[in-house]
Amino acid sequence: MHNKTLSELSTSLHNGDISSVELTQHYLDRINKHNGEVNAFITVTEDKALEQAKVADQQLQQKTAGPLTGIPLAHKDIFCTEGVRTSCASKMLDNFIAPYNATVVEKINDAGMVTLGKTNMDEFAMGSSNETSFYGPVKNPWDTNRVPGGSSGGSAAAVAAKLAPIATGTDTGGSIRQPASLCNLTGLKPTYGRISRYGMIAFASSLDQAGPMANNAEDAAMLLNAMAGFDQRDSTSVERDVPDYTANLNDSLEGLKIGLPKEFFDKGLDSDVEATIEAAIKTYESLGATIKEITLPNTSLSVPTYYVVAPAECSSNLSRMDGVRFGHRCEDPKDLTDLYERSRGEGFGAEVKRRIMTGAYALSAGYYDAYYLKAQQCRRLISNDFKQAFDDVDVIMGPTAPTTAFNLGDKTDDPVAMYLADIYTISTNLAGLPGMSIPAGFVKGLPVGLQLIGNYFDEARLLNIANRYQQTTDWHKQTPAAFK
């Protein structure tokens, strides 16, 4: 049952072969059995899930159900869920029961889906290995001594271990695509503004974007249909029609022009990963695509640019966590400054503190021009590289991550080494472009992700390109042995 695609599950539910309550119970049982091995969930909402499943079953019986009705999913614990703890994997919000739903949650509820629970993540989405969580690291289902990637590591591990058929994630610098790559999933970060950020706890507001983490491109398209759309409540949401993302999945790739940026195949890329990516590109050639080497000359600026923009925005966003209105408050503050400083000092973990301090310094008097302004200018240079590239090609491809999953603890002592795990994904966020990672093979039993980068609002095209590849390969169908 847990190896079916979303459309297969939908057919079974609509035919009455299985009820949503049965399907939901099946996944809850799997979570009970396996979550201890991977630590993918922070909160399991068993009672609410079964309630939602009962409502879904009524809709299915009354023939008022949609394609997603009754299908379970997991939400990254960054999305506010009314009446349910929304921790962002931080001690700061360990006691935070969200008073409202994020728009994404609301839309997915309206589509009739069943929420199984909230998944583990790096604290406030800051990390690339899921090791900064207050609730302990997530383990990669392909090798539990290794990281699942981050920050959406819990969502990735939950879907890879078949504890949920699909999950939501968020991506600020690679947080959907890099864990998708490390856990053999299909992950999509849409164009900035495509999905509402309302109720999604803010990390870096000019970069954050939600998206689906799925077993295949068709599943991702189905969930994106429910997630995408304009929202009055998000001031950066884009007013633009939402197409049916499943409509063009089978279009031919004949004549597709693929650009390979030479900077993505440079030193730092593992040679086995490189060979895997090259084999995937060959498959695309056999599907009728043509290949062109391109250049994104400012790629080397993307990590340093990101580590000014993201910390600066996070230091501002996280200032709302002050121990006054919600979240952790220290014992017996002696004055207001003590209340702020100790509540925040106790509530935030080391990586969050590092980033807040980086941002506070970059924005402090006398340094704004040298850091934030300079970084915003470099951001324009990076974005212009992509604009130029898309004059000649339809899609850009390369590796999602420079290596396969690394061992737990390998990079925790060296923040800068950890930051470089996102070297191929960050530029997409800075430019605001949509990006995907899809399973492209294995190196020593560990998954390798192929990254697809599209032009603005080309999500349907990306999903089509991913789907055609998945019709001729079966990498995405592989399941880790311990979770079959």
Binding site: F326, R329, D335, A431
Partner: protein, 95 residues
């Protein structure tokens, strides 16, 4: 550029973060490494480049000046650490 103990203490205070004395050397090292990475930006020629604040260069959307939100004080204060008579309580600020 090199940040020392005093700089780290000042930054932590600006960010309203209490940090352990014992952790200061680690924060200093990490922040210096991060700003070492960021230093690469100074090599980029950005003369005449307009800073990019929004990936699609969108402007802030305006809305009609109408009341759209209802009062939810009780709901929001239900999760507050300390409230009394509808207000949030903090240590005394004015003597």
């Amino acid at each position: 550029m090199s940040l020392d103990k005093t700089d780290v203490e000042k930054i932590a205070h600006l960010a309203r973060l209490a940090i352990d004395e014992a952790d200061i050397p680690d924060y200093a090292r990490d922040l210096n490494n991060i700003f070492g990475l960021v230093e690469q930006l100074s090599e980029a020629d950005t003369s005449d480049i307009t800073p990019m604040a929004h990936p699609l260069d969108a402007n802030q959307r305006l809305r009609a000046d109408k009341v759209t939100e209802v009062d939810q004080r009780e709901t929001f204060q239900a999760i507050a650490p300390k409230t009394e008579a509808g207000v949030y309580l903090v240590p005394q600020v004015i003597e």
